[in-house]
Every structure is written in structure tokens, then in C-alpha cells.
Amino acid sequence: MAKASQSATVQSSALRRPAEAGRAFSARGVELVALPPAHRISLRAPAGSVAELSKALGLTLPQKPKTSASKGTRTALWLGPDEWLVFDDGAKDPLNDCAGVAALHSAVGISHRNIAASVTGPGAARTVNAGCPQDLSLALFPVGGCSRTILGKAEIVLLRTGDEAFRVECWRSFSDYVLTFLTEGARDAAV
């Protein structure tokens, strides 16, 4: 018993500190906030496995380019013809849900590979456009639209969560660069 409490003390001394935790910036018309950790998987599967995986994940995996599907705290983003990013801001890890699926697929846990930031406000699109060359008008990039793209020199996954709201996912090794870039973008967008 004493041993167990000792090891618990040791564990708590190694706190997980997510990259960019607590980072935020606000300018006139733009709010930039590093989002809390989330469960994430990189999912790859042929068309024949999509139905079974959708059932296990509890949402219909989108099959049209640049579209996403959401249910509760979980969102699946179409990244390519056989590739999805699934993240869950809640307690349930989508990786566990895929574990029981017999149909051919590859689900890789990447919860700690990515960090996410939200960019909101009337200047949100201009902030992202500071380094992302895609057309972010609502006609071409509607709410729920998503795409892997670039921001400056770093690859990001962009999801439009509202008319004036984006979620930016990036690799954690690029996170300082991406958040700094977005901060500068927000500064410019506010002018």
C-alpha cells in the first residue's frame, strides 16, 4: 500500500504539459486560443470499410472532398479519398471504437502529434489567410468545410466551425511557428 502511494507521488511529479497550453491572443475582431488536448486518430480505409467504421465511430465518415461530419464532441474530417482525421474533444477515444472493427483499416492514435487552436471573430478568415492561400469565402469554404493545406511553411488542417470560426490543427513540432504566425495574422487582420 505504502509502495503504491509512493509511485503515485512519483507519477504526479511528471505532469503532462501540452504544447502551447494556455496560449491566447486577442486583437480587435479576432480571438486566437490554443485548444485543450483532444483525442485524435489518423484513419485510412478503403471504400468498402467505410460503413463498418462509421458504425463503430458513431458518425458517418464523409466521402466528399472538403467535407466533415460531426456528432456530439466527435468530428471526422475528409483529408483524402481514403484518409480521415477524427478528433474527439470529449472523453471517448475514437481509437478504442475502431479497435473492434474487422474491416480493413488503419487507425493510428495521433492525439499528441497535433495541437489545435481556434480562430474566431469577424477577422478570423483574414487571420488564417495571412499564411493560407485557400479561398476562405463562405461560398467556397462553407461551415463544416475542411482541408489539409498550408499556413506559411507549415502544414495545417483547417476546419470551419462557424461563419467566423476556424479550428486549426497542426503538428505539435510546428505549433510554436503556427501560433506565432496566426498571432501576427490576427494583428494584421485587426488593423
Binding site: P81, R148, T149
Partner: protein, 129 residues
């Protein structure tokens, strides 16, 4: 910035999302060890590098990640068409001519020029003096 159409994303996307992957439709020998040095040289090193339409592989590396093929005019950078990997080489005669775009990329004083470049320069100098 060039806009390149990705046949998988079904959309024109900025060129920064793409990476060129060399000439397309280069047939790889099924038995590499059996081919002669000359044949290997042709396969491995020799490319057409045309002034005009070239068939190329492209990868939508910062997008869907897929390789696809495209026909591009190397003079104007205009894409005549893009098609999915594995699809047959399209017949160029069925595609629109790239000539107008080629002209559009020239400075206005050279459009539909009847004289040679040397003569044009000479005329210009006279006019200026």
C-alpha cells in the same frame, strides 16, 4: 500564384499545396535486371523536356496527398487537363489549344508581332530617339 486543379479534391487549389513529381507515363521495365545499359539510361535519365505540352506527375502533398497526372504547357504554365493516376494519357487533339494563353503571357507590344524580335527592338529605339 498558379491554381492547379486536383482531380481528387475536384477543385482548383493554390500551387503551394502541390509538388511536381517529374514526367508522367515513364514505363518501368517489369524485369529491370534484363534490360541493357542503353535501355536503362533511356528509362532512368532521358526525359523529353519539351517546349510546349508536357505530361507530368503532380502530388497534392499538402492536400489530399494523392499523385495525379496533368498536361501543362511549359511556355505558359497553363494546365490543359488533369487526370487521376492510372487513367490513360488523354488525347491532346480533343483539348483546347494552348495558343491563346501563350500569346497572353507576352508583353502587349509583342502580341501578334509580324516582325522579328531584332527588328522590333530597332524600331523601338528609333521611336524613342
Amino acid at each position: 500564384m498558379l491554381l492547379i486543379r486536383c482531380p481528387y479534391c475536384e477543385e482548383d487549389r493554390p500551387e503551394l499545396e502541390f509538388r511536381n513529381a517529374g514526367e508522367a507515363h515513364i514505363a518501368r521495365s517489369a524485369n529491370m535486371a534484363a534490360i541493357s545499359d542503353d535501355e536503362f539510361e533511356k528509362f532512368f535519365f532521358i526525359r523529353t523536356n519539351p517546349k510546349g505540352v508536357i505530361f507530368e506527375r503532380w502530388r497534392h502533398v499538402h492536400g489530399c496527398g494523392r499523385f495525379f497526372n496533368g498536361a501543362r504547357d511549359t511556355v505558359t504554365d497553363r494546365f490543359l487537363t488533369v487526370y487521376k493516376a492510372g487513367e490513360p494519357k488523354p488525347d491532346l487533339s480533343t483539348l483546347a489549344s494552348s495558343a491563346p494563353a501563350a500569346y497572353a503571357n507576352r508583353p502587349p507590344d509583342q502580341l501578334n508581332a509580324k516582325k522579328t524580335a531584332a527588328k522590333r527592338t530597332a524600331t523601338k529605339k528609333k521611336g524613342e530617339a
